[in-house]
């Protein structure tokens, strides 16, 4: 297992983006909850899903990487997208797009009661990251 004593440098290319459906959902969640954030989960059950919280609800630290700040029309502040540094190490060669599907995801993510779930779609970064 790789050792992570410090977080990797902030990414310098776009690594995370949104679909229009995800932007719509972020607009309505912002109206209901105020400023938002994402943290990318790992592990089982609802792992691999991006978890959406009220900004500051989830405490990030030195073991996390800010993958990007998602700008959404109609939402005053960009939505930060975080991932743990150790998981970033394994995901860094891929670009992530936050999408929305029907479903009832578990976890504490804010959209679950709406009957929809944020989902990550991935593609390879052309430059090799």
């Amino acid at each position: 297992m790789a050792e992570h004593t410090t977080a990797p440098k902030p990414p310098d290319v776009e690594r995370v983006a949104l679909t229009e459906t995800a932007a719509d959902l972020l607009r309505s969640l912002t109206r209901a909850h105020g400023p938002l954030m994402f943290h990318q989960s790992g592990g089982c059950c609802d792992g691999s899903s991006p978890m959406c919280y009220e900004r500051g609800e989830f405490r990030t630290g030195e073991g996390d990487v800010l993958l990007g700040e998602l700008r959404v029309d109609g939402v005053p502040e960009p939505v930060p997208f975080w991932i743990s540094a150790s998981q970033y190490e394994y995901w860094s060669h891929t670009h992530l797009t936050v999408d929305v599907v029907q479903g009832r995801g578990s976890g504490f993510s804010l959209e679950a009661p709406e009957g929809v779930r944020f989902l990550i779609r991935s593609r390879l970064l052309e430059s090799g990251g």
Binding site: G43, G47, S48
Partner: protein, 507 residues
């Protein structure tokens, strides 16, 4: 083949109620804010009941009821608590088939598995902890001639438990049985994807449990899970799920300095050394079943053997046999007793699996079989089915590093022992692992070298109550199963007693 009737249809063993409220203090209580949500079966995607949408007020009521019950329950004789657990187990055994059908309809898993594994294991879990609590002893330490330290086990009081959706009943019982045996009262929140079967279970055993000892609050994580995890009136929180929510729960728990146990999944390696194929015999047959167990429960198992590491000497032959074995898996209606792989538990889970098949292909993984959604049609149209899938690639691919939680195994080869260990441990997680070898020395050394809490050796996916289960690394904190689980639901009371008359002489 035989087919159980779907719950609520003619001839069915089970009928779900059209609506479930919260079970609080031994009675059903409507949600304070009046909200409900639909609960679909993954078998065909159609709702079959609706469930109370719990909020902080409901959680508070449940914690009140639990506090009222915890004192008397904690003071009952261990023999009396054990008897309650035995009676719960007996009642479940009398209704084993009905519970198996209820669980299959709720989760989408094949009734073949719930009949043979989920429900029998849950029954045995109650019996195991009924036995363990009666055999538990405290301690007496002689400090000096006239001074004795007594160590008593005392319950924590009121504990919170947040249950996952992959084994809704069994995972609930893994948490309930030790907590109740130890003398705690419980507030339990089932997963929002699978909230109904625990209520069917309660309908069978409610008369056996004192009111308030087990309370069930339904709802979503942000609305009902958070107030439970954050409550200063809950002495401990147990959670099974994934890493981000695990961290969030630890964060909430830290606000009132309460302990947590977390089981957060893995990416378990299943390692097949060359000598497995040394003979065409029962052992090879068993090992091939062990390979194919990645599809057990549609892959929705925290310890799914989702990385198969095969030594290069027998790689091609073993893998070809594994592909053939996988292609013989019977996929179909979960209530058919011949069905081996049923439906994924939810639509978003299905979509997540398909997104992994996509990035796997982009990263260059080869699809050796499966690789797509299964459109089963007919009465199963609208259900969430995925073909059992074998991918071949390299350990740094995302499909080798994240729990897909689907019937998908990622296969790669290794040359020698050291490379196998290096691949096995090149993961963030460490929950389960499998080692297959005819050489006991190799198997032992591998088992000790793998950083995982459970190493199945020449077997896989067995879950006896008397074997500890839990994770290394990012797979979690604490253990479930085994007598040691009582430690997670008890605290130690030390009475330090002097039987002498002599003062210390300091003041």
């Amino acid at each position: 083949m035989s087919r159980y009737a779907a719950p609520g249809t003619e001839g069915a063993l089970v009928t779900y109620q059209p609506r479930y409220d919260h079970w609080i203090g031994g009675a059903y209580v409507a949600p304070k804010q009046g909200g409900y949500f639909e609960n679909p079966t993954p078998v065909n995607g159609q709702p079959f009941t609706e469930i109370a949408r719990g909020t902080a007020e409901d959680v508070e009521s449940a914690i009140d009821a639990a506090h009222a019950a915890a004192g008397p329950w904690g003071r009952t004789a261990p023999a009396d608590r054990a008897l309650v657990l035995h009676r719960v187990a007996d009642r479940m055994e009398e209704h084993l088939e009905a519970l198996a059908v209820a669980e299959s309809w709720e989760n989408g898993k094949p009734v073949r598995e719930t009949l043979a594994a989920d429900i029998p294991l849950a029954i045995d879990h109650f019996r195991y902890f009924a036995g363990v609590i009666r055999a538990q002893e405290g301690g007496i330490s002689q400090i000096d001639e006239d001074t004795v330290a007594y160590h008593f086990h005392e319950p924590l009081g009121v504990v919170g438990q947040i249950i996952p959706w992959n084994f809704p009943l069994l995972m609930a019982v893994w948490k309930l049985a030790p907590a109740l045996a130890a003398g705690n009262a419980v507030v339990l929140k089932p997963a929002e994807q699978t909230p109904a079967s625990i209520h069917y279970w309660m309908s069978l055993v409610a008369d056996l449990l004192p009111p308030g000892v087990v309370n069930i609050v339904n709802g979503f994580g942000a609305e009902a899970g958070k107030p439970l995890a954050a409550s200063p009136r809950v002495a401990k929180i147990a959670f099974t799920g994934e890493t981000t929510t695990g961290r969030l729960i630890m964060q909430y728990a830290s606000e009132s300095l309460k302990p947590v146990t977390l089981e957060l999944g893995g990416k378990s390696p299943n390692i097949f050394f060359d000598d497995v194929s040394a003979s065409e015999d029962a052992f090879l047959d068993k090992a091939l079943e062990g390979f194919t167990l990645f599809a057990l429960n549609q892959g929705e198992v925290c310890t799914c053997p989702s990385r198969a590491l095969i030594q290069r000497g027998h790689y091609r032959d073993f893998l070809d046999a594994g592909i053939a074995r996988t292609e013989r898996i019977v996929q179909g209606h979960p209530l058919d007793t011949d069905t081996m792989v049923g439906a994924q538990a939810s639509n978003d889970q299905l979509e997540k699996i398909l997104s992994y098949l996509d990035i796997g292909r982009q990263e260059g993984a080869r699809v050796l079989t499966g690789g797509e959604r299964a459109e089963l049609g007919g009465e199963l149209a609208g259900g969430y089915y995925v073909r059992p899938t074998i991918l071949e690639g390299g350990n740094r691919m995302r499909v080798f590093q994240e729990e897909i939680f689907g019937p998908v195994v990622s296969v790669t080869g290794f040359d020698g022992f050291d490379e196998a260990m290096s691949l096995a441990n090149d993961t963030l997680y460490g929950l389960g692992a499998g080692v297959w070898s005819r050489d006991g020395n190799t198997a032992y050394r591998a088992g000790r070298a793998i950083q995982a809490g459970r190493v199945w050796t020449n077997c896989y996916h067995q879950y006896p109550a008397h074997a500890a289960f839990g994770g290394y690394k990012q797979s979690g904190i604490g253990r479930e199963n085994h007598r040691m689980m009582l430690d997670h639901y008890q605290q130690t009371k030390n009475l330090l007693v002097s039987y002498g008359d002599a003062k210390m002489g300091l003041f």
